[in-house]
Subunit: 191 residues, 2 copies
């Protein structure tokens, strides 16, 4: 059994038995880079755990450019909360950036876990709380930090993104164009 469940749910004291129940409810899938887990306009029905690889979420801006809104790295949950939990068509598309190994579970089965595994709903509560802090921090960073600093921060905190995602996706995630990011890199290399 993969130890991804241990990693993802480590913040709460689940018993080995609980982890086993959780793991058994998931199905392992391996998909190639460029695959879609969820497309704009669809309502999400699955919850994913990312064991290996890189996934991104993106939307189209008012000029129809793809803007990457999020990167998901190993041992993270890959979902569009507004679509999965509110049952709305997603504004965002989920696409693999590299070949990936994921574990999926239907939303229905996921909800069952809330009842069958004590402490799982507590874990959900914790996840939402953490999301509030990180979403807020991200929005503060966009206004308080320069593009260069946001790039350096991303490089420091999640280097696997910089290493594996194309420049264009990284740039749009940082709120700039690939041309600008290329120039930022050039300036940084001079120092």
């Amino acid at each position: 059994m993969s130890d991804i469940f241990q990693s993802v749910y480590q913040h709460l004291q689940f018993s080995a038995e609980d982890i086993k129940v959780i793991a058994k409810a998931h199905q392992k899938i391996e998909i190639t880079k460029g695959s879609f887990l969820l497309k704009e306009g669809e309502t999400a029905n699955e919850y994913y755990l990312l064991e290996k690889g890189l996934v991104r979420a993106f939307v189209h801006d008012y000029n129809n450019n793809e803007i990457t809104t999020e990167f998901f790295v190993e041992n993270e949950i890959v979902i569009v909360p507004a679509s999965l939990f509110q049952r709305n068509p997603s504004q965002e598309t989920l696409q693999t950036v590299t070949d990936c190994v994921l574990w999926k579970i239907s939303f229905e089965d996921f909800q069952h876990l809330f009842h069958s595994v004590p402490g799982f709903s507590e874990w959900g509560r914790l996840w939402f709380t953490t999301q509030v802090f990180s979403l807020k921090q991200k929005s503060l960073d966009i206004v308080t930090e320069t593009a260069t600093n946001r790039y350096l921060k991303l490089l420091k905190e999640k280097p696997q993104i910089i290493q594996n995602a194309p420049l264009k996706q990284i740039a749009s995630f940082l709120g700039i164009t690939d041309t600008s990011l290329s120039r930022i890199r050039k300036d940084l290399s001079k120092i």
Copy 2:
């Protein structure tokens, strides 16, 4: 007794008795516009409910300009979650935009309510969940909508902000300068 508690906590079925307990734990305060509820660098110790008036949160950007990050309207909770719940110095400052009537409670007493009022923690869970959806939506709007549309959306959803906050604060909240917003308004008036 003010019915603000009824308004704020209406999403869960609190009994009249529960509401009374909650209300009694708060203290009413009236403050003039321009007052500070929390300053950058301080750790928040109070939780506020806004009965009347308008409050904003702001940070300083990399050029030391004030950027309004949030507006709080009547019957909303006025807090900086990262500071209040994580006990960190706040990056954001809370300032009244107009004269205000607020009800405050210390963080300590607030935590007591979680234990003494059944369902209060459920309300907290709901609040965090809602925040995730709205914070995410806000970040999507910034990339998918033009500044003009963001202005129109704000005008439609929270006209009291447009009516009561100075242009400069509205502009920075929308991610543009007051000069640009003035020009957007001019263009809109031509239609």
